[in-house]
Amino acid sequence: MKVVVGQGSCGIAAGAGKAFDILENKLNKNHELTFTGCIGMCYLEPIVDVYNNDELHRFVKVSGEIAEKIAEAVNNNDFSISAEYEIADDDKAFLSSQTRIALRHCGLINPEKIEDYIADNGYEAIKKCVTQMTPEEVIEIIKISGLAGRGGAGFPTWFKWNAARNSESEDKYLICNADEGDPGAFMDRAVIESDPHTLLEGMLIGAYAIGAKEAIVYVRAEYPLAVKRLKKAIKQAREAGFIGKNIFGTDFSCDFTIKAGAGAFVCGEETALIESLEGSRGMPRLKPPFPAQSGFLRKPSNINNVETFANVAWIINNGGEKFAAMGTETSKGTKVFALTGKVNKGGLVEIPMGKTLRDVIFGIGGGIRDGKEFKAVQMGGPSGGCIPAHLLDTVIDYKALSATGAIMGSGGMVVMDESTCMVGMAKFFLDFTAKESCGKCTHCRIGTKRMLEILTRITEGEGKPEDISLLEELCYSIKDGALCGLGQTAPNPVLTTLKYFRDEYTDHIENKHCTAHECSKLVKYKINADACRGCTACAGKCPTDAITGEVKKAHLIDRDKCIGCGTCMATCRFGAVEVE
């Protein structure tokens, strides 16, 4: 039998390493033990798949104890434990409802074995390109497919390739942007950790199309496992002759290098990424000239995101038409989302464009945790916006999402329930962008800081009536005045929350009240004397000694000392702590 342990970063974080070690120890040697990358069901990690001929047993939430039981079951070929530890039918739908192209190998192959990749038509697409097609023909297929940049902007990929193709230069560069920085987004990491050869092959095709001899992957240094697997994959591909000189015996040569980013969010912006590649401080350049004319080392360069490249080999193998058959009028193919937040089933979701947000959040994601109400979903991370409940039937399509004020973005989908304060949410993302501003533009550097200060005072009950109009003025000024995408999109979380949840802002400002009870300075706790049993638990946990009372007598909260942290409420077993 073949036993496969999901070992993406997420699986390892959940304890997959331990499960693997136990299986390695306990399994009889006649069984094959291997690993794969991210299977995509974060909420069920660690996951162990057992292939018994054609039969798949998928064990979830595999603790050390369960790992031992799995080893026993495999060794004895007795799967009576299945009912208890295998994935529930309901959860199987998480994967079966998806259409996986970019993630087509994720969770299925061993990312560190090129053979696994080759076994599924691997490197056939690049072979087809270099031996049977002109670069123009390659670009034409990509054009037919309608593939657009998956990093967020959604710019047609063929157009960028074509522009770089048409720029005359001996040296050109093909660059992969793997500087995935949005909080809550992990699609690119999953692809690299689970299927690095898909990326390499997509990049090779891109390099062939634009005429580049060098390809560079700019990847976050915070993704050590991705970097490790990518290095290994490059080595394997080079040894196999897919990378290097005269690939498939043709004139096409292309080599790869990896550049680890130093953690600046703005380096996900393509011109800042180029500056960083050149060894300079990551600060965006003015456009034009666009990288297709003057990019890395002032040479024509093309930059695409990981997920974009992950689709390319599939498109070449299956034809542009097949890709374009999926999706909507304006958005073709599939899109990967990192579904997180207050949703029941979080993980990686790849679906065809044109599905609705409801399909993803309530269908695949299984709705909201703990029976709470859905409030909004933040799309596109700090550059995106929130979409409220009444727009849940919005279709996933670049145009339709933009119309709501949010964006497709790179695929971060953070679900929020009634306990999330929308002012606080906007503040969270603005805090992120304000800190990550490179400092170049006045509007972004100081403007986001001022917006953050205003949001902070609103959440602390110090908001002024004119703050909303001041925020709006700053939002539009920053959008107009900032040089790069970071600054131009930074106001989006504020603008969309102002659009859909304006009442929450005025409630904070006028009534010093936070509906979600999340803004600690606005929450006033009290103890219901009838419900209090005088157990002293809350008093013991209170970090500021604000709670007093004798044993077995009702306790009291001292308002002056209380900082509104909510620890008492979480501690009380009798529901005696209430919010006023």
Binding site: A264, V266, R281, M283, L286, P288, A434, K435, E436, S437, C438, G439, K440, C441, T442, H443, R445, I446, G447, T448, K449, R450, E453, E466, L470, E473, L474, S477, D480, G481, A482, L483
Partner: protein, 738 residues
Amino acid sequence: MQVKIIIDGKEILADSSSSILEIAAENGINIPNMCHDPLVEAYGGCGLCTVEAEGVPKLLRACATKPSDGMVIHTDSDRVKQSRKVALELLLTDHTGDCKAPCTKACPAGTDCQGYVGLIANGEYEEAVKLIREKVPLPSSIGRVCPHPCEKACRRQYVDSSISIAFLKSFAADKFIDDTSLLPNKADLTGKKVAVIGGGPAGLTVSYFLSLKGHSVTIFDQMPKMGGMLRYGIPEYRLPKAVLDKEISLIEKTGVELKNNVKIGKDLQFDSIRADYDAVIVAAGAWKSSKMKVNGEWLPGIYGGIDFLREVSLGNKPEIGKNVAVCGGGNTAMDACRTAVRLGAENVYVIYRRTKDEMPADPQEILESEEEGVIYKYLTNPIEFTETDGHVSGVVLQKMKLGEPDSSGRRRPEPIDGETEKIALDSVIMAIGQVPELSGLEELEQTRKGTVAASESDFLTSAEGVFAIGDVSNKGADIAIAAIGEAQKCSIIVDGYLKGEKLCYKKPFVVERDDSEIDYSNFIKQPRAVMPQLSPSERKTSFAEVNKGFTDEMAKAEASRCLECGCHDYYECKLVKYADENDVSYKRLSGEKHSRNTEDRSELISRNEDKCVLCGLCVRVCDKVIGKSALGFVDRGFGTVVLPEFGKKLADTDCTMCGMCVDKCPTGALREKQNIKKSLVVKENSKITVCELCEKRCPIDVRYVGNTIIRIKPYGKDTVLCKKGKFDLIEDKTLLQK
């Protein structure tokens, strides 16, 4: 390639390789920018050069946009202006410093105190006087009599004591009091006639400036000589009339016609002046003593303060006897009591209802009067003047105590029931204020205070073409320098009026710090110069000037104490220029402000991070032009800062001290050390020449004032100087002669 574009409605044939910013500049349209310089690539950071192109949804950065045929650009649309304004406002919310020094801002006439004090410290007396005369045409007189709000604002007081700014002014001005060569060139005659009613400080000042602008000015004054209150209200021992005469004579030499002994309404009708002149400025002053509403106030032997001083100035000797009381606590009261001493009174009392701490008079004046034997009756208030043989013979004083503070913040005096005191007197001088006397000017709308109502922004009265300034208008009597300040501003507005332009006075924009934000601990204490004076005994019997004046050494040493509060880059700073032009109101956006207080002074270059706007020109010029990396950006977001590499001091980096960073810095964040006794902030003269220290012969712009070279800047947009041209050359004192 040539393309046709339209910028602000102007059709332009432009080179397609130039930027919109450059094309606009070549065609006289200056688009604000702070981070652009032809020596380096476009950067696009400051966000000021945004323009709108028709058909393009986004705002474009003019520095980085190349023209395409048919492009229609707007550099001042509402959207552009709003974006630019917000960018400026945001920059200002994190720009820490003082554009102008507190002394200069405190002066009602806006006299550039820091400027002339610095010039005096460098021995540039003539330049100092020219600078003062830009605002005040009576500097010798004003330096002697001004209660100097400048000194009250001077930050040196937090180290030891204020700079003696006023006396430095009269010190310098006295040196050139007879020198007509200092008068600025007069503009060509305009043919316009201006009548000024009243020849006091306001009337003389407005006449001087309007005359220099080419208008024909005539002053009508009711008194025998010009000078107004300076002549008839200030005693000789403070302001010798010979000094005033000389200053008035200089004003007369600019072409102002002086007509004395003309009382409006009596000798000449206001209507006929209005008919005969293109503009009329009412500067008639406030000549009527205020009354106190006390029993017996009408008695013979009781004088109004201003009436008493006028009589003495006219050479008359009012009968005041041996025992004299002066009621009031202001500077007129001081002048009255000290004059009474000099007229031979034996007991001179000052009656004041509060205590010395609340007295509005200059403390120095109080001290000097005490030295001269004046007796102070604090916390007393006259309730009745007694009479003997139809003449005042004494006063009954109500004793007072201080209660709760009133609206002015001073503690309110309250009577103590039943406690009174009687003093026998021969005469009383009521120095409790003065109001205008408006007979002959009845047609002008008045304020509730009985002054002429005039607009605060353009000095216009209710009558067309009639302006009012000084004590006669609005809030009434004030100090002379306030009247001079209004007069100088009014001259600009009247000049505009005569040319058919409608102007308004707008206070110049400044960034400022609170006095408490500054660390004074690093300044070395050095006491204020003591003005040499006649001894009290000499003073009591003579009207000779009390103050003997500073020597050159004393003046230079005193001027050198200046802390140089105002920014050294004021006249070069783009930020303050644009802020002033764009009507910014940045306070609404204010928040956390950097106050790093880490001034890095190398031998030749000083850095002040608190004034940096992150334009990056220093970093880029150093890197791309000089090929060094002495400066770089550190940190991200709001905390981004330009620092020398690896946290070193600038002098410890690979900096070559070429000073190009200083010359490219749009604000005062980087500045060169001035190789002179006291660093100057003045409008500099410019002399274009070449540096001859090597065969490259770089074109240079030598900035100087008088005989003092302040700095050398590269001349021309492509010039790159080295340390030799920037700094070493200054040592060559013959540079200016060349």
